[in-house]
């Protein structure tokens, strides 16, 4: 990310002149107060937003020179977890988790064992047929994580993943991210939870008023 600025019509400068490099295989926290621009920064990373100025490279390619199909391909190599889970209500947990396989043209049937294995990994092996409304907040978040990693993403982006779950579940979720990171996935977690930052010794970047304020711990 090179001198990236994002202006919303109602809020100019939500991100200002941010330059950032996330090496492959790293684990990074993005922190800062509410409205600091954490979500916008992640949105930029999953190509959900075009910067008003600056340059963004992802997997070595200039993100905004890509066609819409190429962007879809880049997104298929990303996993995204949101605070509000964003599971699809009318689908079972199994179908929610298998969704990225289905929409990227993979054979869901032949991947059935893998989906089931992943559900067990996040502790939802017995809930394959349940609908999201039948699960607790923590279970939903674990289902959302399973969905985010089903395509073995190179980059995992999590926006306040522990925001809607209690501290114990939150810790377990971060442990899941650590496991993924050990397998080579680059992980970026946006959080305003000071306790998480203190507990995990990973590099953290702080945003304040849209600017990269301090690097609390250096990104490798």
């Amino acid at each position: 990310m090179d001198q990236v600025t994002v202006d919303y019509p109602a809020r100019p400068g939500i991100i200002r002149d941010v330059s950032l490099n996330l090496p492959a295989g790293s684990f990074t926290f993005v922190t800062g107060p509410s409205g600091a621009g954490k979500t916008t920064l992640l949105k930029l990373m999953f190509l959900g937003l075009k910067p008003s100025a600056g340059r963004l490279q992802i997997f070595g390619r200039n993100a905004y020179d890509l066609s819409r199909d190429q962007k879809a391909y880049v997104r298929s190599r990303l996993g995204v977890v949101f605070q509000d889970f964003r599971l699809i209500d009318h689908m079972s947990i199994y179908d929610n988790v298998a969704l990225p396989l289905r929409v990227t043209g993979k054979d869901v049937k032949s991947e059935r064992d893998y989906v089931q294995e992943l559900l067990y990994w996040v502790g939802l092996g017995d809930y394959a047929n349940a609908k999201p409304e039948e699960l607790s907040g923590g279970q939903k978040q674990r289902a959302a994580i399973a969905r985010a990693v089903i395509n073995r993403p190179a980059l995992l982006l999590a926006d306040e993943p522990t925001g809607n779950v209690d501290d114990g579940i939150g810790l377990k979720l971060i442990r899941l991210f650590e496991e993924l990171n050990k397998l080579g996935t680059t992980v970026v977690v946006a959080t305003h939870s000071e306790s998480l930052l203190q507990r995990f010794e990973y590099p953290a970047i702080r945003l304040d008023g849209g600017r990269l304020a301090v690097r609390e711990r250096d990104v490798a």
Partner: protein, 304 residues
């Protein structure tokens, strides 16, 4: 979670018969559920207008064909003679007609028929004042086509004052009526197509707005535009097939009430109506789907 829910939730995934809910659900979206109804109504109107136009054009064509196929010859009476074949002018005119290529049946109207025709055109009083002409009805052969100008000259020589009416004025009037009917019909159908296009685009566009969250999840899951587009296009296509199919049936029934000839001559009328209905139905479905697709794509490009 209730006991039943827990039981269903815990059923092993292997027991499922390929669980695969649709990516998007349109049930419960009022406007989307109304789409087949609106398209059905529009289709019934379009089919009705199209068949009405077909009917009128067919009947006009029949009349034009009749007008093309007949000539009427008026031979003025020779003073002092009864207007029959004994009149030498009529005999000469008949000879001239019989020796003209491109003519079929030649029939001299009897006195009573002639009187009826003249009185119908000019009123009852006229026959008391003016001697009746001899009227000869002539069928034109399909081939060779008769040269009417030459026939006029020959008849004038054979029976001076004889007049040939080739129904030109009537034909011109009928042809003008045909253009008017065609323009009117196409205009009405075009208006229906415009309404279908706008309705389909708006309803599906509203559906896109209602599905924003699902679309967002699909995009971040790596779905290309065509996957998302196919959900909406599929829904528009299903709605159009159901709505337009039923609307076509209603339109046909309405038209059959206006033109019961279909029941008397189905082998003549159906071959006219069926291709028109197929064309209108195909075009309506195409317009509905293409308009929906265009609007979805526009919205997708704008929102993500």
């Amino acid at each position: 979670m209730t006991q039943n829910q827990a039981k269903s939730a815990r059923r092993p995934v292997r027991d499922l018969i390929a669980p695969k809910e649709p990516l998007m659900v349109f049930r419960g979206q009022n406007a989307a559920m109304l789409l087949p109804l609106i398209l059905g109504l529009m289709a019934s109107l379009a089919v009705f207008f199209a068949l009405q136009t077909t009917q009128k054009l067919y009947e006009l064509q029949e009349s034009i064909g009749l007008a093309n196929s007949e000539l009427t010859i008026f031979v003025p009476s020779t003073p002092g003679l009864t207007p029959t074949l004994t009149d030498p002018a009529v005999t000469r005119a008949m000879d001239a007609l019989q020796n003209t290529a491109g003519l079929g049946r030649i029939e001299v109207l009897d006195r009573q028929q002639t009187q009826q025709l003249v009185e119908r055109a000019l009123g009852n009083a006229v026959t008391a004042q003016v001697p009746l002409p001899t009227i000869i009805s002539v069928q034109r052969a399909r081939r060779p086509d008769v040269d009417v100008a030459q026939l006029r000259t020959r008849l004038d020589r054979a029976a001076p004052g004889a007049m040939v009416d080739d129904n030109q004025a009537l034909r011109q009037q009928l042809q003008a009526a045909r253009v008017t009917e065609l323009t009117k019909g196409l205009g009405l159908i075009l208006a229906v197509f415009v309404v279908v296009s706008i309705t389909s685009a708006l309803v599906i566009g509203q559906s896109v707005d209602l599905q924003t969250d699902v679309i967002h999840v699909l995009y971040i899951s790596g779905a290309p535009d065509r996957i998302i587009l196919s959900q909406f296009v599929g829904f528009a296509l299903r709605s159009a097939i159901i709505g337009v199919g039923l609307g076509c049936l209603v339109g046909w029934l309405l038209q059959a009430l206006y033109w019961p000839r279909i029941f008397r001559e189905p082998s003549v009328i159906l071959p006219l109506q069926v291709p028109v209905m197929i064309l209108v139905v195909s075009l309506l479905i195409m317009v509905a789907v293409i308009s929906a697709r265009g609007n979805v794509l526009r919205k997708l490009k704008r929102t993500f």
